[in-house]
Each structure stands twice: as structure tokens, then as C-alpha cells.
Amino acid sequence: MGPESTLSILVVDDNPLNVKLLETTLVKEGYSIHKAYNGPDARKIAADKKPDLILLDIQMPGESGFDVIKTLKNMAITASIPVIFLTGVSEIDAKLEGFELGAVDYITKPFHPLEVSARARLHLKLSIATNSLIRSQAEKLQQISDAQSAMLTTPDKYPDAKFGVHYLSLHEAGGDFYEVLPISDGIYGYFVADFSGHDLSTSYLTSSVKGLLKQNCSPIYQPLESIKMINDVLVEILPSGKYLTASYARLNRKTKQMKIICAGHPPVCYVPVVGEPRILEMDGDVIGIFKNVLFGQQTLTVNPGDRFYMYTDGLIESSDKKIVWSEGAGLMLAACTAAKGIPLADAPLHITRLLQPDSAALEDDIVIMAIEI
């Protein structure tokens, strides 16, 4: 069983091959799957498990897909679950009847698994937006208060996320913060950010951002969409002149894909097991100022043992030595490369000491997070 945010899909088809094909594809995308090979089982599982979406074959021996959807739409407990039909190319009447009975979409057979997963994502989004507006608003308030009581996520809370962190706040209401988000089984989000200014409102806003992260970083949103949605809310609620720079990384350990979003933040350092360490240089607007924003995005295929380092500018900027982070990133990469043999948990502190041997000389907050594949 994955984290509680995992979305579930019921796949119904009398052909075990289709069920297996859909299961393999959808599990990789982070969904949990329930399976049924006939109508009566489908109805029973839908009522018991209340999946977030149902993929339903029409042509099944005995009880057809039409019979199943009629029953589901007549039961309060299953009526709002979106249903996508699987149907043959030539069955125009069947498609129309499917819509008539309350299906949200159809997919023609033979289907391409990646098309199914794209449509599933679309309809889950629509369903969440339309059916759960009130519930999600209530949850949002709850999430914000939850976030306030648990400010810092430590590596022992999510051992599968495999990260190490060094966090130092010089000000009572620190401007820097980080978050690690369990998105689904094998999928984690990593967020490192820096608020402009150090006034008291910053710490209050930090809790709001953590609440927004929890709400918007889910398997159905691409990382870029998540950060854009958070930006759109912050544009509305941040005091004038206040903004946020951030790096957001989403790692899918099953597909070995790392997606990184840059929002006006110092670049992530990538230290692969094989190959040259490098700075993932990207342009990107800051969060919370503009409604129409462009964020930097990169997707990397990663290998076990590779490391990523996300950090805030306190470690590499110095007004004393007149170093700005464009130059400082080179120093950071050298320090991250030097930490290659150091255990993950100790690497962030090791790098801090390499870059700033005299901790009393620190001028700003520090966050440095190491992520290992």
C-alpha cells in the first residue's frame, strides 16, 4: 500500500492481456490498480474500494459494460466515479450509448497504453476539479494547520526518499526552507526554496507554501503544472514585493526519471556515478510575482547511486567576498563532487564545511539537500 494520496483505478476487461497491459502501464505512473475480469466483480470492487477512476470494457460475456455502468450510476456510493469505456473502432452506436449512460470518455481498441494513461490523467484532473471542490477547500485549511505543526521533514520520516539535509536558520523567522513530499509509491518530490526578506510574515507564508505543495504535487500533475498552480495562488496572496525562488525535483524511481523545475533559484548540481558532474543551468522566473510565468525544466534519465544537490544561495553568496551565485555554482559543484564517497546523510554538512569552514562567518540561512537515486 502506497501513501494515502495514491490514486486508484479499477480496470475491467474479460481479456487478461488487456488488464495486464493497463496494469503495467498505470502502476508505473504511480496509480494503484484494482482488477476485475467480469461485470459482477467490477460492481462489487467499485462499491468496496471506491476507485478514483474506472476503465471499463464494453464487450464482455454475460454482464456487459453497459449493464455495469447503469448499476454504478444508480448507486450513490459509486455514481460520481468517472468511467472511461474501452470499445472497438467501429462501434459508433456503442460509443454514443456509453456517453448516454454517463461515461466521461471512450478509448478505442486496440489502444496504446500511453494514450490510456494520458486520458486517465486528464479525467482524474477533471474529476478532482469538478466533484471535489468543496472537499478540497476544506482539506486545504486542514493541510495548512497540519503543515504548521510539522515544519521540517527529516530523512528518517521518509527513508525511501533517500535524502540528506543540512538546515541552518540564522534568523528566527527564516527565509529558507525545504520540503520532501511522498507523491506515490516510488515517487517523491523535493523542494528547496528561499523567500525574499526575513520578516515575521515569511514564516507564516512558509506554512502556506507547504500546504500548497501537499495539495498540488500529486501523480496527476506534471511538476511544471504543480509549480505553476502554486505560483498562481501565491500571486494572489503574497504581500506586494514578496517572492520566492525555488528548485523542485520529482523523482520516479520506477521509470528512473528525474524532472527538475527551476524558479529563479541557484542551479541544481548533478553528480552521476558514471560521467562528468555538472550544473543543471536553467532560466526561470521567480514564484509569486507574475501570473504568466516561465519556469526552467529539465528531464534526466538517472541511475542508482547518482546524486543531486539542491541548495539555497546562503552557502555560495558572500557580500564580503563579492561572490554571486552564478560564480558560486562552480564552487558548489566542486564541493559536491568532492563529497562523492561521503555517506548521503553526512554529505550536506561535509559540503557546508568545505565551502564555509568558519561557520561564524555565515551571512544567510542555509539549506543544502542531497538526493540519491
Binding site: L17, L21, T24, T25
Partner: protein, 103 residues
């Protein structure tokens, strides 16, 4: 026939695809048996259903020779013609055998 390429086309790793092909072979051989039974008992409805099932699963995985042949049988069976089944059976078995040899 390149199983790795067919799998990649579906967004699947080679080992995931092979597992799916094994299920395909089970259902496909069962469908071919149903076709044969339908031919013997002159049951056009059963022939059409078995051909439909074979067409769908072969088409989904990209085994187009099998899918096209099954589609032809399905169309004919709907017109109550099942004479082609007799010569199609050994052809299906050969094509399925080629896939079986690859995994």
C-alpha cells in the same frame, strides 16, 4: 520481429513486455482453439467472438500479421462465412510459434 522495439513502442521495458507476451500467447492459443471448435461446430457467433478477441490482443501488442488475419475472419464470420478458418489455423500456429521462439 523485434520484441524489444515492440515493447518500447508501448512504453514498456523488455522484461515487462515479455511477461505480457506470455499472457498473450496463452489467450491467443485459447482463441485459436475456440476458432477451430467453432469451425467444426459451424458456430458463426463463436467464430466471430474468438476472432474479435484475437484481433484485439494481437493488435494491442503490435503483432499485425495475426491481427489482420483475425480481422478478416471476424468480418467474414459476421457475414456467416467461416470457410477461411481451416487454412488460417496453421498460419496462426506458425505465427504464434515464431513469437514463442523469441521469448
Amino acid at each position: 520481429m523485434d520484441l524489444k522495439a515492440l515493447g518500447e513502442n508501448l512504453g514498456l521495458e523488455e522484461d515487462e513486455f515479455i511477461e505480457i507476451v506470455e499472457i498473450f500467447l496463452d489467450t491467443a492459443y485459447a482463441d485459436v482453439q475456440k476458432l477451430e471448435d467453432a469451425y467444426v461446430s459451424k458456430d458463426v457467433q463463436a467464430a466471430s467472438e474468438a476472432a474479435h478477441s484475437l484481433k484485439g490482443s494481437a493488435g494491442n501488442l503490435g503483432f499485425m500479421d495475426i491481427a489482420n488475419l483475425a480481422a478478416k475472419l471476424e468480418t467474414e464470420a459476421r457475414k456467416k462465412i467461416i470457410s477461411s478458418i481451416q487454412e488460417a489455423i496453421p498460419l496462426f500456429n506458425t505465427l504464434l510459434g515464431l513469437i514463442k521462439d523469441k521469448i
